[in-house]
Subunit: 511 residues, 2 copies
């Protein structure tokens, strides 16, 4: 059974287990109406069965697709693990009350129409939270796409496709970015351990999810699209522990405000809360990225490949120019060109035509065949002075992108070092890319982008290393003089209704 390989052992029950491993699901607002959100969720829940029963809840129906339909959650009269709610906003408080009285512990509220619509919506949302707290329920959403747990075959969303199983947990505050990333992930054959749309984060936030995913054996890294940090303390304290063992990558807009302020002042000092956030991220080992491309590409690399143990990349290519560009990008981002050992150089001399580059980047010339690529990759990968491989192929007459991909794919699976690739060009290159993606090799349109991704993965590894090695600093003479004092200041600040520290406060609190 496919699922067995991922479930290491039964876990103790945590509050979020009902979301990620529900034994059964009630779908409130289930419908057969084409185009309705409740219809899409019903399709998704039943088309990739998660292994437990689905209970459609809709007072207007008695059955729905051979499933018995219930007028309310409490009418199900069995312990319901998870309620997925897709009814109009004004009905949701009543649904939650019903769930709470039926002992449901977890609900995903898909419905929109709450705080984002103004005062009346905000009041509705508060009503929901009161009801949920009364029944000790946890809420994901509202105004979200739902969540997927591919290893459990759980798709409790209204997205149009199911994520592939993989090692990256993706959490997004934008539903639109969720669906876009899902679409791209299919093209790149990239998988996820969890795919969570958090919506307005009325209850469950970053901290809860990060802490839960720390213990999830299928999750090896966590990628986040964050619009607001929300409960900053909860995020930071969760991230600080988790990022040491599992990479946390955050894409958070908001630099522009800082940029504008920086332009206005000429002090060169920290100019706003975004810089404070940056510093806080760094201190807890969170990698902040700047673009959707980086979030996606870095996640893909972390899903598919081991992390580099050092900064030394070997570049193997049939094209000198693009390799120069990749080198430039590599060095600019903190990586290094691996120095090849005399033994490796001798073996390459024995394999390659005389005019090869005799150094890294290993330019194996424009007439490189798939056989030449294969031999060179074997030799260079076994050099212990190499921490990773970038293979960059340009479309030349003698070099067939598809043939090279086919020749390399089997060997690349077992190298034990990160391997990334850039198959430049159009349609033929695209077919080669698909073969590499299927074999778990991340591909990037441009070799210089690929080198930058190697740098990001290495910077993450190195950053974690540094955090482990940093000795505890003595408390500074000014500012917070003890952990207890810091704690009480944070409590004071939170009591004043704020969730974000000022620049000065942050500096005082960060030792």
């Amino acid at each position: 059974m496919r699922r067995a390989q991922y479930l290491i052992a039964p876990m103790s029950h945590t509050p979020l287990d009902c979301f990620f491993r529900p034994r059964n699901i009630a779908l409130v607002g289930a419908t057969e109406k084409p185009g309705a959100v409740g219809r899409s969720i019903l399709d998704n829940l039943t088309q990739t069965p998660f292994g437990g029963p689905v209970y459609p809840v809709n007072p207007k129906h008695e059955t729905m697709r051979s499933l018995r339909c219930y007028p309310s959650v409490s009418a199900i009269r069995t312990g319901v693990d998870l309620a997925v709610i897709a009814t109009p906003a004004q009905t949701v408080p009543g649904v939650i009350t019903d769930c709470a009285s039926a002992g449901v512990e977890a609900a995903v509220i898909i419905s929109a129409g709450f705080r984002e619509t103004g005062a009346a919506g905000r009041a509705l949302e508060e009503q929901i939270l009161r009801e949920a707290r009364r029944g000790r329920m946890r809420i994901l959403g509202p105004n979200c796409l739902g969540l997927m747990v591919p290893h459990q075959r759980l798709n409790a969303t209204f997205a149009t496709s199911m994520a592939r199983p993989g090692k990256v947990a993706f959490i997004s505050q934008s539903g639109a970015l969720c669906t876009a990333i899902l679409d791209w992930s299919h093209r790149e054959r990239m998988g996820f351990s969890a795919f969570v749309s958090v919506g307005s984060m009325a209850d469950i936030g970053w901290g809860d999810l990060i802490r839960y995913l720390e213990d999830d054996p299928n999750t090896r890294s966590i990628a986040i699209y964050m619009e607001s940090v929300g409960d900053a303390r909860s995020f930071m304290s969760a991230a600080r522990g988790v990022a040491l063992s599992k990479p946390i990558i955050v894409l958070k807009p908001g630099r522009s405000e800082a940029a504008a302020k920086a332009a206005a002042s000429h002090t060169g000092a920290l100019t706003g809360s975004d810089d404070v956030l940056d510093a806080a991220f760094r201190r807890c080992g969170v990698v902040r990225v700047d673009t959707i491309a980086e979030l996606f590409d870095l996640s893909e690399a972390l899903d598919k490949q081991p992390r580099p143990k050092g900064p030394r990349l070997a570049i193997i290519t049939n094209a000198g120019g693009p390799a120069v560009l990749a080198t430039d990008a590599l060095l600019a981002g903190g990586g290094q060109l691996a120095g090849l050992s005399p033994d490796t150089l001798a073996r390459l001399d024995g394999t390659l035509p005389p005019h090869w580059s005799h150094a890294n980047p290993v330019d194996i010339l424009g007439d490189a065949t798939s056989e030449r690529f294969r031999k060179v990759v074997d030799i260079v990968a076994s050099d212990p002075s190499t921490d990773g491989l970038l293979i960059a192929l340009a479309p030349t007459g003698p070099t067939d992108p598809v043939e090279v991909a086919e020749a390399l794919a089997p060997a690349l699976r077992t190298i034990g070092k990160p391997v990334i690739a850039s198959w430049m060009g159009g349609e033929q290159a695209g077919r080669g890319e698909a073969i590499l993606n299927e074999a778990g090799i991340p591909t990037y349109s441009y070799p210089d982008s690929a080198a930058r991704i190697f740098d990001l993965t290495w910077n993450y590894s190195a950053g974690i290393e540094a955090l482990y090695q940093t000795p505890e600093k003595p408390a500074p003479e000014t500012g917070a003089s003890s952990r207890a004092e810091s704690g009480s200041r944070v409590v004071e600040i939170r009591a004043s209704g704020r969730l974000l520290l000022s620049e000065l406060e942050s500096k005082q609190l960060l030792p």
Copy 2:
């Protein structure tokens, strides 16, 4: 006739006309042998006929594909405009001697095996140059892919496809990058006015080509991949004049050396020739880009769209999150969010559901239909406070990427302001992108990348504006005190065998 629309008037004969508008071509090394470079060039020359005769030159054949075959160029006994040479390196000096005595003015040497192979190859190359000078011939190459002039239907390369006609001249020192960019350009429906692989630049260099393209009516901008600046004085003096009227975009690796030096020293001052080059580029209006992605994306935007007249971008989207990211990227790169006029806001209020964003980015909500997109684009594009439009679409249930592209394409052709698009997602989004590309709208995978491209086009326009407006500065008290003195210094430096100025010299010479 298609060509007529590009040929404004017969031009006076310049030395490079024989390359770009040859009346006939001799192909030395023509062959039918499959896989041979001479075969690929013969295929290309005959499959897209440029309008004049092709003379295959190969002493072993009398005819080739119904074409009369000649034993040598001099045996053709008609004025030959352009010789394309694809014979082994050691035969090339003899071929050039023959061409020179036959009065040929221009030769493309495709063959490799010259200076890149060591002393013997360098000697061969010098022999070729002596012969060429004796006969007042100009040489493109050696060791190059050849050149294409799509508006003339001229394909004198061994590439596997022909470039589409367009407005960007692309000049590359890497043949591999040529073929990769050619492949990408087909996918994006991007065209070129010229596509030139310069190879080793034994004779014809940047300066010659830039000066020639200045007067080419089909070329609106020039994109360059430069590995070595070569004759820096020639490049700079040509670029200084041309960049004011036609954008020159340069991708040149070499930052990494500077970065390494910068890391080693802590002065914060200019650290090497790369910074000097940067300064020199800026002073003559050349845009330097850092990645293949930027070179390609910016070229595409300049090929397809007018340049922005100001920094104010309007973002129209069905997805809040991605629009926030695009805004961040826009502001970080020097662009601004267009402030919409009260009239525009009122018209949008009359068209959109109440919860639209009521500001730029114009978030028209997740359930946006193609009709809603079309109306909003009409309204926003006609606001005079908008200098450009970015349309960012996310894959949501109600929004069909193909339908929206089809609805928008006709109107987008006639807006008269730059329009760029990002259709996020997978296969369906790709079909939408193809429709937009066909309509001349550049598309980018990510909306934040698209915003960055708008910034680059605007920065170019603004930079040119600034160069026009900068008054002549008085000569500084130290350093070069007059134009004549600068000139004589440059002559001295060149006489010493150098083509690159030191940092100090550059600073003294640049007023």
